[in-house]
Symmetry: C3
Subunit: 289 residues, 3 copies
């Protein structure tokens, strides 16, 4: 999805578009919130009908959507249906607001996740496909700082579970809202290894808000990861053997399957092998394009 494709509304609808975007942000782009939004009358929106695509009524029950869809070519119809809103005024289609893709990229420490993300974004930018990259942990820290809960990032780990839960949910909701304007890459972990075991990076309350389109697992051979960690003096990491790394990657796959069940997102495995970085970037680009 290229950014050029998004402004489907004409110049005269730009104010409308802006309003809808603001409205989207207010709604935090949550499907639940949208589901109940059959029509809107607010400010300049009076007499406009905002049809949330997420809960389109059946053709027979709604004259607007049928006509609107007939007015578009087949490809446009499907395209516009993907995510977003059909805008109509007095039974006439005035525009379509699309939502961006939400792609979560995960990988165990040392797998080279950030390198692959940066390579893919660079190549996509050259193609005219824009993505914003968001680090989930950083976004969550910003939320916590705004609430005066923490001063530095180290304090995040010390926060109580229930506070962390609320912050995670707020971060997920905020990131999902960003997709009203752009395609998003969310940099996070499928699972985190803690002293009391594996912790799901995307628990149910995060998934419910975020509803990602794709979750990418960047993987490679555990021995290669071990060597990369040994060579990286800049980060103090708890050392673990390659068997433990293999176990972590296996748990990541298992928990990502649960994410797929709960959200309907796809799970893409991208290999980042030694000497084959370009191949890994290619694979990620093909998913993001």
């Amino acid at each position: 999805m290229s950014p050029k494709a998004r402004p489907l509304v004409g110049p005269e609808e730009s104010l409308l578009e802006k309003k809808v975007r603001q409205h989207l942000f207010r709604l935090r782009v949550r499907s639940k919130a949208l589901a109940s939004t059959g029509s809107e009358s607010e400010g300049n929106f009076n007499r406009e009908c905002l049809l949330p695509i997420l809960s389109l009524p059946k053709p027979a029950q709604n004259p607007f959507s049928t006509r609107a869809r007939r007015a578009q070519s087949n490809s446009e119809r499907h395209y516009s249906f993907r995510h977003g809103f059909i805008l109509t005024a007095n039974d006439t289609l005035t525009g379509v607001i699309k939502l961006g893709k939400k792609v979560v990229v995960t990988g165990v420490p040392g797998v080279g996740k950030t390198t692959v993300i940066n390579g893919a974004m660079e190549r996509l930018a050259a193609e005219g496909v824009e993505y914003k990259a968001v680090n989930f942990g950083t976004f969550m820290f910003e939320v916590a700082k705004k609430e005066n809960l923490v001063a530095d990032r180290d304090e995040m780990r010390k926060l109580a579970k229930d506070v962390q839960k609320r912050l995670q949910q707020a971060a997920a909701s905020g990131i999902a809202a960003m997709s009203g304007d752009a395609n998003i890459i969310i940099d996070t972990h499928s699972s985190v290894k803690t002293p009391t075991g594996f912790l799901a990076g995307l628990p149910e309350w995060v998934l419910r808000e975020l509803m990602p389109d794709i979750i990418v697992l960047v993987e490679t051979d555990p021995d290669q990861i071990l060597m990369r960690r040994l060579g990286d003096a800049s980060r103090a990491r708890d050392m673990e053997g390659s068997r433990a790394i293999a176990e972590h990657q296996e748990f990541n796959r298992a928990v990502s399957a649960a994410y797929a069940m709960y959200t309907g997102c796809t799970i893409k495995i991208v290999r980042n092998e030694n000497f084959l970085l370009e191949q890994g970037i290619d694979d990620l680009v093909s998913v993001l394009r």
Copy 2:
């Protein structure tokens, strides 16, 4: 569960039975819908009490159910409790309506899923155990055609995600309703391999409606699957190596574990090895019987 076991209501209740079946269909056999149906008074049902077994009140709180259950032998009690309804009129048990089993059968392309299903249904029919086989994708296509969304099956893939989601939910609800009359085999995929990754065949909104009793994974050695695919010239399949097939089967197991968590269904692995088809059919029959 044999079909002979089902008509537990006597000849004089056959109209009642029919009505209840229609009622069941209207309710779409959804547990949520049933949960609120403590008693019914509608047409011939006046003064009848339809106790949904899915939400039986505690014995002390409901004189009907206690008495009803006491009136039955122990084995009948448990039997009738499995799925379905106890029918009572003026505090007297008049009958029991059972719901059929819902068994999902899955497997990667080329594993021989359809062969095993057909073999099992043939053998069960000989034993007097009836199953209806439904292909999830075909059922969904029929729903889409009725809504004039598509003309041929190829257009299904091109539908927007949110439309597909609604159609999946409608299909799951319709198939669940069929179990009011019969045992059902649902032929579908545990996960589907798409260009953007593995897609859950039974996402949360499908499971919520379908609530299967058993999910069967038909599996075999990846090399055997590869050879079967190579030998099958009739279907144009994207070729993948045996390592990729192994990965797909592993993802199927992982995602089926999530299905088990969400629905409480059992996950049965049935092997369909070369030269051992009868063994595979035996295993499936033992689960369906």
Copy 3:
């Protein structure tokens, strides 16, 4: 969490503490129930404010909590936040009620789960850390007996699925309530092998009530498990080969990943190798401490 740490309320608040405990029990310690409990006025609680930590309002919106939290040291703040309640009277912090940890310990038959649990509890007791051990199946049986549904444990298996579901939920809710007073070890299965396939030991309706903090998988080499089962003449077990045991352990990992997604609990793998029992106990103790 040692028991000494728990009575944070002074002697004059002990009646209050008792009341809150009773209140907690009544609420069955369910997060949903707690979420709506902004303030309480009941009996001795009049003019008291019970702030559920699970849904703490933002500092700016609630003068109580800000002040209450400021009154505590940083470490106490985080500590008290973990689980439980802050008690305030007339805008003054009067105490903190903590909830115990809920740790589920699972493992296939023959892995030596009970041995590891007993060893860990003994060592923790010596350290002054108290845990109550509850067997999920036994607790569920007690609930069923109270309802006159069964006379002996053998009848449990014969109960209808929907009755079993209700009993499971009641047991989970009861066990969760126990954590209002103590740390709990819940002895159960990640999945159970049945004739129709693997059954999730902690399905969605159990998880929703129980909301465990940690799920421990006690594992070991399938061959060792096989030998232990062969040597245990006291229990009649269906014999299965080491490949089937490996498959069962793999399914346990997969389904536990789904548990982690749904509840946010951590998944800890503890190995119980031959001749290395002390190591296994050490690992479990480190998680429970």
